[in-house]
């Protein structure tokens, strides 16, 4: 049985390996903080996590938004067109997916809000 099924198993394993290799080569993206984006030159789409600052500006009925995303040391302006996550507001952590333009503005094509585990800024603690 091992001999008879070794070959099909090897073929399936090789296919799976090839599929993973080819698919992750084309579509994996870097997941960075703002400072990591600043210190590494990357081409293509990246995801950048950071905290939304107090300069959110909405136009076009809320479908176009600009704001600054910041981590402990670095910040960057973000430009996003599309539906905003419900919990989007200054102070929350977002993950913007897109490209850093030549104008120094990060053009996001998707914007994900990291859900805080609890929905209060002052949980009861001892």
């Amino acid at each position: 049985m091992i001999v008879r099924w070794g070959i099909p198993a090897a073929i399936v394993a090789a296919c799976v390996g090839y599929l993973i290799y080819s698919a992750s080569g084309g579509s994996s993206e870097y997941y960075l903080t703002v400072s990591e984006l600043r210190s590494h030159s990357t081409s293509g789409f990246v995801r950048v996590a950071g905290v939304v600052q107090n300069d959110v500006q909405k136009t076009d009925g809320g479908l176009h938004v600009t704001f600054t995303e910041k981590d402990t040391t670095a910040s960057m302006p973000v430009d996003y067109k599309g539906t905003l996550p419900d919990i989007f507001r200054p102070g929350i952590t977002v993950v913007a997916e897109g490209k850093l333009g030549a104008d120094g503005v990060f053009h996001a094509r998707t914007l994900l809000a990291k859900c805080p585990s609890r929905f209060s800024t002052t949980p009861y603690t001892q």
Partner: protein, 652 residues
């Protein structure tokens, strides 16, 4: 206050009983002491009773708004509707772990009740492994994630449930998924016990068959309910995002799907013994791995889970289970040699099962790699993540091959397939060609769609022809047909489940390949047309509801009115929540999200047209119906071993 002490004490008593049951069961099994084996089992029942008591106490605390309990204060408030207060039991970390422990105890007890006939050793070791797992959960509940932890001062009101969770979906999705996760421990415990006892025959498989089916059905339902809930609540127009949280629920399901098929090869042909142990162990390890990934927050996810201290505990438990299982498998290698040496023929029912298993495990590997890539890449450099395109490209071809196998496999006979199979294949092949022709005629040019959907049609045709063949068998009476289907209900139930899966495949395929979306901003009276559906915006207004205010926009589609809205929860610092409006027509869902409103009365919408999404939910219902009908009533006779293909007149 008292409630907190009572609850914590109850959990501690449960922990002591669980530990006692584990130690006694292992020792008594080793010594083959029947009396102490029975005592060990009863200690497990008692630990379960303690867990149930703790669950009742927590529920009492929730319903009486006992805000001295940190858990009650953190997950409910006075304004929350009572059904959701009750659901707060599994709405948070500690409560959901207690719920998990409860299900583990109840199902574990049920599986131990009739286990004595498996022999002293096997039943004792099964109780020992179950009690160890139960003990681990009770330990975590006692030491790190206490649902009965008290606050120094009881606040006047609680914080309330996350608004995303204030939904009917909250009442059904989490308990089903968590029960599914908990139930994978039962087949694992009996598999480990069989290895410990050196009983690698199919006894453990037939004993746990219904528990495996229960685990699989719960997980199927849980996945579909999760998709349904995400689709109706999250407002991005889809139902599956390949988020780690979804992936870790999918992987044990895939492994168990493989096991449901490969276990038949052991029952019917006495083969694949080691493989079956491996699959059951894999499913359990994937559940623990998933819990670790989700609750430790080490992988980027958008889901709402409390990141807490239980991560390292589950990691340690994962390692312990992994080492324990691997050691058992290696220890029993000598027993896995098959009783008869004939190879599994490539073109046969068992050959199809083996190929299906390889493909399913291939999908597990693809999903696992995508899930852990951020961890793996983070260790050697910058973190990298993959999104939906990776999963579609890597898992897509494997899933297509699986659908093809769904069309061919059921037609193959056990042992070796001959010419009649080619004749039987003409119906599904004809259906595939017909579907392909129709799709080409209406102008479909997407290659993946042209492969996947005709194969789905072929798979559906295969199961329908199996029912057709039963119908054609003489004499043609309904009574006769009923007897035939009832007599082989395992088989016909499985065909029904296959049919449901084919329906799900068509629904997923259609909504995946032909979803249309558009962003529109309309003034009152304005119209927009998406995929042939004309929507008229009539204006927006506000209304007050019990715990929130709602800004809603009225949209006309023919004579129906859609009301997408945004809810504002004043009690939670003005947190907003989008309510999607969905209307279902025979061929598609029209799905409208209110993105925002302007000062001039205009409003922006995100409109999706999702074809055949309802087929996914309907197909899921057919799958569950098939599993239930196939296993209802008295235990069906175990299928006999297929050894020879000889005419029935020749004495065997």
């Amino acid at each position: 206050m008292t409630l907190g002490y009572l609850g914590a004490g109850t959990l501690l008593a449960g922990l002591a009983l669980g530990g006692f049951s584990a130690l006694l069961s292992f020792w008594a099994g080793w010594k083959e002491n029947e009396v102490f084996v029975r005592v060990g089992r009863r200690a497990f029942y008692a630990a379960t009773a303690m867990t149930a008591l703790a669950a009742v106490l927590l529920e009492v605390g929730l319903l009486t708004h006992d805000f001295a309990l940190a858990y009650v204060a953190a997950h409910t408030d006075l304004a929350t509707p009572i059904a959701l207060v009750a659901a707060g039991f599994y709405g948070g970390q500690e409560g959901s772990l207690l719920y998990w422990t409860l299900i583990l105890g109840v199902l574990g007890s049920a599986s131990l009740l009739a286990s004595a006939r498996l022999g002293t050793r096997l039943s004792a070791y099964a109780a020992g492994v179950l009690a160890t797992i139960l003990g681990f959960f009770l330990l975590v509940l006692t030491l790190v994630a206490g649902p009965f932890d008290l606050l120094p001062v009881a606040p006047p009101d609680g914080l309330g449930l996350n608004p995303v969770l204030r939904d009917g979906g909250m009442l059904i999705h989490p308990p089903v998924v968590l029960a599914g996760f908990a139930s994978f421990a039962i087949p694992f415990s009996f598999a480990a016990a069989a290895l410990l006892a050196g009983r690698v025959d199919a006894a453990w498989i037939s004993h746990t068959r219904r528990f495996v089916l229960l685990a699989w059905s719960l997980q199927t339902t849980g996945l579909l309910l999760g998709m349904w809930w995400a689709y109706h609540v999250l407002g991005w127009g889809g139902y599956w995002g390949w988020d780690p949280v979804e992936n870790v629920a999918l992987m044990p399901w895939l492994a168990t799907t493989a096991y449901l098929h490969s276990s038949q090869v052991q029952e019917r042909r006495g083969r694949l013994k080691a493989w079956n142990f491996g699959l059951v162990i894999l499913a359990f390890l994937l559940v623990i791995f998933g819990t670790f990934v989700v609750r430790s927050g080490i992988v980027p996810s958008v889901h709402t889970f409390a990141v807490s201290a239980i991560g390292p505990w589950f990691l340690a438990f994962l390692f312990a289970s992994l080492v324990f299982s691997a050691a058992l498998l290696i220890f029993r290698t000598d027993q896995f040699t098959s009783t008869h040496s004939a190879a599994i023929p490539t073109v046969s029912r068992e050959g199809a099962f083996v190929l299906q298993n390889l493909l399913l495990i291939g999908v597990v590997v693809v999903v696992l790699w995508g899930t852990v890539l951020p961890l793996a890449s983070g260790m050697v450099g910058l973190q990298r993540v993959v999104g939906a395109p990776y999963y579609e490209r890597a898992a897509g071809p494997l899933l297509v091959a699986l659908i093809a196998l769904l069309a061919v496999g059921p037609l193959l006979p056990w042992r070796r397939a001959g010419r009649p199979v080619l004749r039987a294949l003409r119906w599904p092949a004809g259906a595939a060609v017909l579907a392909l022709g129709v799709m080409l005629a209406v102008g479909v040019r997407s290659i993946p769609a042209l492969i996947a959907l005709p194969l789905g049609a072929a798979a559906a045709t295969t199961t329908v022809t199996e029912y057709g063949r039963a119908l054609l068998r003489k004499p043609h009476t309904w009574q006769r047909l009923g007897q035939l289907v009832a007599g082989k209900r395992r088989r016909y139930g499985a065909y029904l489940a296959h049919l449901g899966l084919a329906v799900v495949v068509v629904g997923i395929g259609a909504s995946h390949f032909w979803q249309q979306e558009r962003d529109v901003t309309l003034a009152p009276g304005g119209q927009a047309t998406v995929a042939g559906y004309t929507l008229t915006y009539e204006g927006s207004s506000q209304r007050r509801l019990s715990d929130h205010t709602e800004l809603f926009a009225a949209m006309k589609l023919g004579d129906r009115t859609l009301e997408p809205s945004r809810a504002i929860y004043a009690g939670l610092g003005g947190q907003a929540l989008t309510h999607v409006a969905i209307t279902t027509t025979p061929v598609a869902d029209v799905y409208v999200v209110l993105a925002g409103t302007g000062a001039d009365g205009s409003a922006s919408f995100h409109v999706f047209v999702n074809p055949l999404v309802t087929w996914i939910w309907a197909g899921g219902a057919i799958i569950i119906l098939g599993v239930v009908l196939g296993n209802a009533g008295a235990r069906a006779a175990a299928p006999e071993l297929v050894r020879r293909r000889e005419p029935a007149t020749v004495p065997v």
